[in-house]
């Protein structure tokens, strides 16, 4: 068990539970040790916190909460790297940007975080997709979800 100072407070974590981002994240290429924290106060938003730089923490959420039909294909070399055999062995998360103006809150759906529950390795994967971008406005996506769900009920 080791103690870490993070942006959202001090945390205690077993060394074998530390998430290893061996390739870093774009913009933070040197940071490799992270943890995923779910504080009660911000649920369902979780935090991917750096254990090496206490200024760095990303608010993240399951992308299905932004687009309930969210779907990506993960290439085989990444599946091998994460040692995942079934989709429920991986956690997929979208990074949120939350400025003071709530109408400008965005989610990055083109570069999700994928974490393996098997080997605790993580990556930020860049999806080759025309459908997704780095900045989806949450307010627009919520409207889209509502409409899709309503259409579905109508069937």
């Amino acid at each position: 068990m080791a103690k870490y100072e993070t942006k959202i407070g001090e945390i205690n974590i077993d060394n074998d539970k530390v998430l290893k981002f061996e390739f870093g994240l774009p913009g933070f290429d040197d940071l490799t040790k992270f943890s995923l924290i779910t504080p009660e106060e911000t649920k369902p938003i979780m935090w991917l916190v750096s254990l090496e730089d206490k200024e760095v923490a990303f608010p993240v959420i399951h992308p299905e909460m932004i687009r309930y039909d969210y779907h990506i294909d993960v290439p085989s070399d990444i599946v091998d790297y994460l040692q995942i055999e079934k989709s429920d062995q991986a956690i997929t998360l979208s990074i949120l940007s939350i400025p003071e103006d709530q109408s400008k809150i965005t989610a990055n759906l083109v570069a999700p975080i994928i974490i393996s529950t098997i080997n605790n390795k993580g990556i930020q994967y860049m999806v080759e997709s025309e459908e997704y971008s780095t900045r989806h406005y949450i307010k627009d996506e919520m409207k889209r979800n509502e409409k899709l769900l309503k259409d579905k009920e109508g069937d």
Partner: protein
């Protein structure tokens, strides 16, 4: 910066330790150049602007304060209850 001039169908080979990356110039049409890459799977190839865009978004994300997130989480709970 090393600058090389290439014709359609010609390629460039980059060798690093035991890894080889081959980049082939496939097409040049109206200012759009199409490149083909041959590289080991562990070498990740990205469009430069996408990588930079993601780095920019990541940097903007870390400015999200805990208090703002606490306020905003309610936007997601509505849909849950239905």
């Amino acid at each position: 910066m090393l600058i090389l001039s290439r014709k359609i169908g010609e390629d460039i080979v980059i060798k690093m330790d035991n890894k080889t990356i081959k980049i082939k110039l496939l097409e040049n049409q109206m200012g759009h150049i199409k490149l083909g890459f041959d590289a080991p799977k562990e070498i990740k190839i990205y469009r430069g602007e996408l990588y930079e865009e993601i780095a920019k978004e990541n940097k903007s994300s870390i400015n999200s304060s805990f208090d703002l997130v606490k306020e905003f989480k309610n936007a997601f709970s509505r849909g849950d209850k239905d």
